[in-house]
């Protein structure tokens, strides 16, 4: 086992940042932590990186406790925080050499591990890190986090604010690094990146909502999900669908609406009402929920539980 997160709690003054976080990451796994800003992802990553002490619970990295054995932990992890910790007044190659020496190794010794990533920025190796574009900084930061050949790579939101093309390229690089036997724990606010992970934990308001393997489609849920499409565009139908009696939730989802009826019977009733809407291009069909659908479903479940308890933010 690469990583054991065992019932971790962490508060900052009155704010409960993490409550009872509990999961394990296998050797060689690519594990994703998916959730919006403020969910607690960075707090958890800082605990894993031994930079923050939890209030309760333990975090064990390859047998070492991140609090008691932090010196050992720091040798075996590579950590890339959301705001890259590069030295902006050092050049690209100086940054890399510096990180290698801090960990008692050299760039040459582990160059094979970073060559794919580093070769993309090598033409600029004499440029100051502060003068690089965002994408190049990201690649340099990744090279620096890998140069001591860590056993576990911890990446806190490496793709936030990055365009769809660069995000895809970054995930391709991660897959290659995983292929070298390095365990990767990565966080992201982009739900569509879940499919690149072996397993993902969905996290919201300091709690893990669910841990799942995104490649296994989730059917057999007690509620069913439908998509609605129309050549006339779906936004015009949103309020109409929501106000239907059998509709539990309806949300925009790209060029479709994703609709959760209250029950299977309701789904058929809704269909027959829609047939009377005089739009032959309407398509209503059952679909399997994506990770984003799951996340929204779990959020709604939580907020319903809260509202029945009469709670308010």
């Amino acid at each position: 086992m690469s990583l054991i997160i065992d019932h971790i709690d962490k508060s900052f003054d009155a704010v409960q940042a993490l409550s009872r976080i509990d999961f394990e990451v296998q050797d060689g796994e690519l594990f994703g932590l998916i959730g919006p800003d403020g969910a607690g992802k960075s707090t958890l990553f800082r605990i894993m990186a031994s930079l923050l002490v939890p209030d309760a619970g333990r975090c064990i990295m390859h047998g070492y406790d991140v609090v008691d054995d932090y010196r050992e932990v720091r040798k075996i992890i590579g950590y890339m925080p959301g705001r890259f910790s590069l030295y902006m007044d050092l050049s690209v190659e100086e940054n890399l050499a510096f990180y290698a020496r801090v960990f008692g190794t050299s760039v040459e010794e582990n160059y094979d591990l970073i060559s794919d990533v580093y070769e993309q920025i090598a033409p600029f190796k004499r440029r100051l890190a502060g003068k690089l574009s965002g994408g190049m900084k990201q690649k340099l930061a990744l090279s620096c986090a890998l140069i001591h050949r860590p056993r576990v790579l911890i990446l806190d939101e490496p793709t936030t604010g990055v365009d769809a093309v660069s995000r895809r390229e970054f995930w391709d690089m991660l897959k290659k690094i995983q292929g070298q036997g390095i365990t990767i724990v990565v966080s992201t606010p982009y739900m569509d990146e879940a499919e690149m992970c072996d397993r993902v934990a969905l996290i919201q308001k300091g709690r893990v909502l669910e841990i799942s393997d995104p490649s296994i489609p989730r059917d057999g849920d007690d509620t069913q999900l439908f998509s609605l499409r129309s050549n006339r565009g779906v936004y015009a139908y949103l309020e109409r669908v929501r106000s239907m009696e059998g509709c539990k939730h309806a949300w925009l989802f790209g060029d479709q609406l994703h609709v959760t009826p209250k029950s299977k019977d309701n789904a058929e009733k809704m269909k027959s009402v829609m047939d009377s809407w005089d739009d032959p291009s309407l398509q209503w069909k059952p679909i399997l929920p994506s990770i984003e659908d799951r996340f929204m479903g779990l959020m709604e479940q939580e907020s319903e539980e809260h509202s029945t308890n009469g709670e308010r933010i």
Partner: protein, 243 residues
């Protein structure tokens, strides 16, 4: 022709930084009341173009009219007619919800009575009346985002520029935000928006995609998907930007 009034008209816009062409002869228009998606990879030149359209920087050359005003000579008039919101919301963290609303309303020259009544309406619509006296830094991100948008259109601008407005928020808040955008267009506000979420490109009436300082594609999402034989906008984007 009133139906198809061009609220933004850009002809051959060029912006050079030294020998580098950040914007290379951009030509496009935005119709009044539409949601116009302005997409492109990081570094493609989107921010440069938005700064010009908002009257914050001069183009090197080209003819550009925004809300009926010339970007060379009438920048102050443009600024009065537009709203702007970025991912780093320009709300003051150490002021309350209510103070932020009144501050921005005052900056845009709304009168005291007008501010009071519109503030009430706004707080009610956002269901934020109960936290009007809370500091911005104490409220959840999703609420801040909705408030930042409402403040950006509080003076009823002709156009609102949204620069990655939904970064980092949860998927439900993101969708509620797009419903607010649609509502704004029903009030006649034109929306000019950038995003890295490709599902959001589908919510736009028309989408342009910038690559290396040029606009390489511009059409409705449906037409772009057909043109690039793609099943969604993500594929369209990957095909264009990777060419």
């Amino acid at each position: 022709m009133v139906d198809h009034e061009h609220i933004i008209e850009v002809k051959e816009m060029v912006k050079k930084f030294g020998s580098f062409r950040a914007n290379d002869r951009l030509t496009f228009y935005v119709e009044k009341g539409e949601i116009f998606g302005f997409l492109g990879a990081n570094g493609a030149g989107k921010t440069t173009a938005i700064r010009i359209l908002c009257g914050l920087s001069y183009p090197t050359s080209g003819e550009i009219m925004v809300a009926g005003h010339d970007v060379y000579r009438e920048r102050e008039k443009i600024k009065r007619k537009i709203g702007y919101m970025s991912q780093k919301f320009s709300l003051y963290e150490d002021l309350t919800v209510s103070e932020n609303i009144r501050l921005y309303a005052g900056i845009y020259g709304l009168g005291r009575n007008q501010i009071a009544s519109r503030e009430e309406q706004l707080l009610e619509r956002l269901a934020l009346s109960h936290i009007r006296n809370r500091l911005i830094r104490e409220i959840p991100l999703g609420w801040k985002q909705k408030l930042a948008f409402s403040v950006a259109i509080f003076h009823q601008p002709a156009i609102v520029f949204l620069d990655e407005p939904t970064g980092g928020v949860d998927p439900i808040t993101r969708r509620q935000f797009w419903e607010m955008i649609h509502d704004a267009t029903e009030e006649g506000i034109t929306v000019f928006v950038t995003t890295h979420y490709m599902d959001e490109a589908e919510y736009c009436d028309r989408v342009s995609i910038m690559v290396d300082g040029r606009i390489d594609a511009l059409d409705t999402p449906a037409a772009l998907k057909q043109q690039f034989e793609s099943k969604n906008m993500n594929e369209v984007f990957l095909k264009l930007a990777r060419r």
